[in-house]
């Protein structure tokens, strides 16, 4: 049962990813990403990370993707031509992709870390539920938590600075 779920989700995630890369039209790419994100959420659930999964769905599939869709709509998602100005790029790129995948895979498979080969220890109930995460966020990781809030603020400011209509900004 679990295995089936995993493979379905994995295929979904991977397919979504490939879709993002392969789709000529940005709009479709966004949609593909959404697929990817949902299947990723499933994987998180399989890994008994309920809260993360939830956040994934809410934050990404909810907020971020909407943002994407708006922007794409705003700038108009024209198809991008297949013309490749950088010599050799489209040959080397896949090779590199394969290369790093192989390296990472080897790193994982050749590792002498036994736990990798297991399903992981059975975790006590409540592992990864909002309460646990919440405690961690407010106790051990209070500071990163706060910091990331500042980060969000800065990002917002930045977005305003960049995107808002402004007098001199229009000069050109």
């Amino acid at each position: 049962m679990e295995a089936v779920l995993f493979f379905l989700a994995a295929i979904g995630a991977l397919g979504g990813a490939i879709g993002v890369v392969a789709m000529r039209n940005p709009f479709y790419s966004v949609l593909a990403l959404i697929v990817h994100l949902f299947s990723l959420a499933v994987l998180f659930l399989l890994l008994s990370a309920a809260f993360v999964a939830a956040a994934q769905v809410v934050v990404y599939a909810g907020a971020v993707m909407v943002l994407y869709v708006f922007v794409v709509a705003y700038i108009g998602g024209g198809e991008e031509s297949a013309w490749e100005p950088i010599p050799g790029q489209q040959f080397i790129a896949p090779l590199l992709g394969v290369a790093i995948f192989v390296e990472l895979a080897i790193a994982v498979l050749a590792s002498s870390l036994l736990a990798l080969g297991t399903d992981g220890p059975d975790v006590k109930a409540g592992f990864g539920d909002p309460a646990g995460i919440g405690y961690l966020l407010l106790e051990k990781f209070l500071l990163p938590f706060e910091a990331s809030s500042i980060l969000l603020l800065l990002a917002a400011v930045g977005a305003i600075v960049l995107a808002s209509r402004r007098r001199e900004g229009e000069s050109a």
């Binding site: 295995a3 995630a13 890369v21 790419s29 994987l43 956040a55 971020v64 977005a159 050109a172």
Partner: protein
């Protein structure tokens, strides 16, 4: 299900994302690919946190989501600004700076 599977999957996603950055030219899509890579990282984090049985990894994943969101916001802001400036939305066309 072995943790290895998750990790290998995540590295596959990582590779795909990286490849996407290398071959796509629309900044939006490139941002999407960055998302892919970050998510790959998240998957790895969560898988590991499951493996070592502590939730720090999950917390990390959540923070990463925040960060990713920020990058997206800024990135999209930039894209809009560029669009406003009537510059082509194609990273290959933006090469005033070189040499």
């Amino acid at each position: 299900m072995n943790i290895e599977w998750y990790i290998v999957l995540s590295s596959l996603l990582f590779a795909v994302g990286a490849m996407g950055i290398l071959i796509r030219r629309s900044p939006v899509v490139i941002l999407l690919c960055l998302e892919l890579m970050l998510n790959a990282g998240n998957l790895a984090l969560v898988a590991f946190s499951r493996m070592v049985d502590n939730q720090q990894g999950q917390v990390f994943a959540i923070v990463v989501m925040v960060v990713a969101a920020c990058e997206v916001v800024v990135g999209l802001g930039l894209i809009v600004a560029i669009f406003r400036r009537r510059l082509p939305l194609d990273v290959d066309e933006l090469r005033e700076l070189r040499g």
